[in-house]
Amino acid sequence: MEPFKLEFAIDGEDFHSAGEASSETKKALKKLGIPADTIRRVSICMYEGEMNMVLHANGGAVTVEVGEDAIAIALADSGPGIPDIGAALSEGFSTATNEIRELGFGAGMGLPNMKKYCDEMDIQTELGVGTTVTMKINL
């Protein structure tokens, strides 16, 4: 069976539209009768990933593929890249500016939560070129 595919472009300038991809995805997953808890995990992973692209990478593209056994999410950007993935993945690590922190982001919990809520995660990054985060959530 061919997976069901959704694609979104994330605007790096627009704070308020971040979260649209995850809420569109949520709508589709509800139509498929996917368990509520799985949908929640997908939403959290996507939302955090989207926010990171907006806050740290000036936008990017999101693809979601719903297959028979898993949901695959790919977030690709052409931002600055992540110098130290290990550090970025640790709880509380953040390079967010004070300005961003005032908006309520920058707790350094995004990537750790994404890792916690998905079943598989992979980060490919190259400084000055961009970052691609892929996640898989089993059905």
Partner: protein
């Protein structure tokens, strides 16, 4: 699930205004009539408000029904107090209700006050999953039961104030009169169709506790002349301002304000908020007061006067010195609990079989791509995407889209003249 919103077939022109405004996409125009898909309708009455022909209306029970009982009790919703200009003494309204033919009056506001006290105590003990979602607005509870299964466990275990009022009033009347339950008639004066439906088909209650729900606007008309005649009314009022405040948005939240409470009114706002809560994007919220109508129950479509004027009057009543009257005794807290779980009634799933559901979703998205994306509504569905879904689910045909129909017409020219002028292109 039965509903309390009806279509007047004589008046409906099939204009599709309500189709586009229904927050649950529960309406389709077929053969010139705006039909409601009952399993999706949550009785929010948005369609009643927007119909230019007044073809959609909310129905309620008849006052004549009180004749079926030997002893009758009336339960006025707090929003009733906001209907009257320059009302300083609530006792006048309560006396006029008795003059209307009821044997007893029991204020829903009094029950609301009990619930406020109890909720405050429970939040102090903090024994449940937060945020707790108020169960006071049945349109919201129905929405959650359809669309937000994750949040069902967050819905307060408390019954609604009107239900508590009904239980307490009936118990008191039973003790005082010695009559059987079936001889005691308990009638609610309702601001909305959602509460009319709820009176007869309460979600999460084993059986109804209310015998009928009357339209506030109808009762209002009957009360006006009666109120003029009331001189020196007895002290019938038992509710303080805390309870009366529940009539408009923020009133339920106010007594809980030492906690992190969000008050949100208007169904579109509520849906957006629930979406955020569902994904846990709003941490640290303790309690949610959610109301389908703006600004709260004073905006229900069975009320008689402008909602904002009514709110101002309620604020005037509840803003006066905070004389909170002694709460009713409540030894038996169990009376406040709902007793049954609210069940998930999914309305959005395309197919029970996951593979088939995926195939359907793909076809919907493909078809959606081929539609013009104008959401013109002339097909009778709420928008292009909804039509795509209706087609795949077998409720509509591709040629219901006027653009598709045009493409099929064998036509020498470019076919523009088959389109209504707003859709013609140069």
């Amino acid at each position: 699930m039965p509903i309390s919103v009806r279509l007047d077939k004589e008046k409906c022109k099939g204009c599709t205004r309500c189709v586009k405004q229904c927050p649950t996409e529960a309406i389709r125009v077929r053969f010139g009539l705006a039909k409601i898909l009952e399993d999706r309708c949550i009785d929010c009455a948005q369609c009643v408000r927007v119909c230019p022909q007044h073809a959609k209306r909310a129905v309620a029970d008849s006052l004549d029904d009180i004749k079926k009982f030997r002893h009758t009790i009336v339960l006025p919703a707090p929003s009733l107090y906001g209907q009257f200009n320059a009302l300083d003494d609530v006792n006048i309204v309560l006396q006029a209700l008795l003059d209307l033919g009821f044997d007893e009056v029991f204020e829903v506001a009094a029950a609301a006050e009990l619930l406020s006290d109890l909720t405050l105590r429970e939040l102090d003990e903090s024994s449940f999953e937060k945020p707790v979602i108020s169960s006071a607005c049945p349109a919201v509870v129905r929405l959650i039961s359809q669309r937000f299964p994750n949040l069902i466990p967050h819905i307060s275990e408390h019954i609604a104030p009107v239900e508590l009022a009904a239980k307490l009033a009936r118990e008191r009347a039973r003790a005082a009169t010695g009559l059987d339950d079936r001889d005691i008639g308990v009638f609610f004066i309702s601001p909305c169709p959602a509460k009319v439906t709820e009176a007869h088909y309460p979600l999460g209650l084993k059986e109804p506790v209310i015998d009928g729900a009357l339209s506030m606007a109808e009762v209002y008309k009957l009360l006006l002349p009666l109120m003029k005649r009331v001189k020196n009314p007895p002290k019938l009022r038992t509710a303080g301002f805390t309870g009366v405040g529940w009539a408009s948005a923020g009133g339920e939240a106010r007594p809980l304000r030492k906690y992190n409470v969000i008050s949100c009114d208007g169904l579109e706002n509520v849906i957006r908020l629930l979406d955020a809560i569902e994904d846990k994007f709003l941490p640290d919220v303790d309690y949610l007061e959610l109301l389908a109508c703006e600004p709260g129950c004073v905006g229900g479509c069975l009320t008689a006067v402008n909602p904002f004027a009514a709110r101002a009057r309620i604020m005037r009543l509840s803003g006066a010195a905070d004389i909170k009257l002694k709460p009713l005794d409540i030894d038996d807290v169990y009376k406040v609990w709902r007793g049954e779980r609210i069940r998930h009634t999914p309305t959005t799933i395309l197919d029970e079989d996951f593979r088939k559901a995926i195939e359907k979703l793909k076809r919907i998205e493909d078809l959606n791509e081929s539609l013009p994306g104008l959401d013109c509504g002339s097909c009778g569905s709420p928008g292009c995407h909804a039509l795509a879904q209706d087609v795949v689910m077998g409720y509509a045909e591709e040629t219901d889209c006027i653009f598709n129909a045009r493409a099929q017409m064998e036509d020498g020219g470019d076919g523009q003249h088959y389109l209504p002028p707003p859709f013609r292109r140069r």
